[in-house]
Symmetry: D2
């Protein structure tokens, strides 16, 4: 299991008239989380794309427990449990500065060849590195 | 069962560098869908809020089947199957101009008293109207 | 002078905790306005891009007079005064359902060759059509 | 003159199909900049609002020089030159990780009484502190 914690501060424009962070914004926060997990692991999403691979999201599930507010300093905990093949699954937990769990999410992404736009396996060395880390 | 179809055109700013509509944007499209379903039914979300009731989203699930592209003319099909009590559940299907199903979503919202910020029942006359329509 | 009026309804996610449409969102509304002006004129921005031309924005100025609120039904008035060469300038006026002027904007965009990423002239027939219309 | 430098990393959802950060997103980046300038100065925008004061933006001007790309690590330089009265003016410069100037912006905000929604002077102690700092 690989875990990454990354922080961000809620922007004014991300709130809605309820005063809460708009429910769709968490998709963006989750993206920040998985990007940082991969970066910590030596692989940037940017490089993946340079190698002609796309990673569109094929499913997302969110349970909203408590609202996030303007200027909250959030922790995005991103979890990778399984070695990816064609798919890669991330889980997320978002906490505020009082360590309250705000929401739980999961996304599944698929490795796609940029030219053919068809699914393909994750890059070999990425899988190998992850296997080593997850099994340790 | 109550069904509403509403249309919108994909904006440039809603796409990402893959050329697809960013996966988090569909939360906003779904919101447009349920707003129009309620408006057609004589109840605007704006009025609900004026009556001191909030409707935060407590869960969202999305299955992404095909991408939406810039300038696509989308149909958001919003479905209300059950008479709401404290919760109200909407299902969504998004189609493009070629009638291709792009994604499937569902959201659950909770009626909350604005002052106490505690869950409460949906407004009585709203429930009655829906019961009449759903059972017909 | 070419004028286009197009409508849109304010989405919940576009408001901020003040209850106003977030000030950055109008960039998106202006984009909708100029897209519809060009479409009415027989040229979609999508086609421009297919012809290997990009149109990045090089300047934007906005004067905010009154706020827009959730569920407001807005009119975006887009104005093209000058025949474009390398640059194309649009002006915007946003009105609400009570015909109140909410803000005034202007953007300048530059025609750029997608491959060289260097400025280039607007497509010939586009200029000719605009000349005919603007001078009439 | 008060200057604040703050950093942020470009998110995937902030790019558009050109591969550039969408031109409207910089309004959000500027907001992050002025929020951090004020925070460094001991005054959070959150506290201002708690004291019944709103700070809507009344004008924004942007000159876009070079694009920002996905995953760029940006520096937002925010500058406050004048002691605010009813208005407060910020200037912005955005740089990428190669120290290239990407765009220049300026925004004017107005102190507004939340209840009356009328303009009012900036809080006294805020002005005093700023006077001391700007004049030093």
């Amino acid at each position: 299991m690989i875990v990454n914690n990354t922080n961000l501060r809620v922007r004014y424009g991300e709130t809605d008239k309820m005063g809460y962070v708009y429910y769709g914004i968490f998709a963006e926060y989750y993206e920040v989380g998985r990007t940082e997990l991969m970066r910590e692991f030596g692989l940037t999403y940017k490089e993946i794309e340079k190698n002609g691979i796309m990673l569109p999201v094929v499913s997302m599930n969110i349970k909203y427990l408590k609202p996030a507010f303007y200027d909250d300093f959030l922790t995005i905990k991103t979890i990778l449990e399984k070695v990816p093949s064609i798919k890669i699954e991330f889980k997320y937990e978002i906490y505020n500065q009082n360590n309250e769990l705000l929401n739980l999410g999961e996304t599944t992404l698929v490795f796609v060849d940029e030219k053919t736009r068809k699914p393909r396996k994750a890059p070999e060395d990425f899988i190998l590195d992850l296997k080593r880390k997850i099994n340790n």
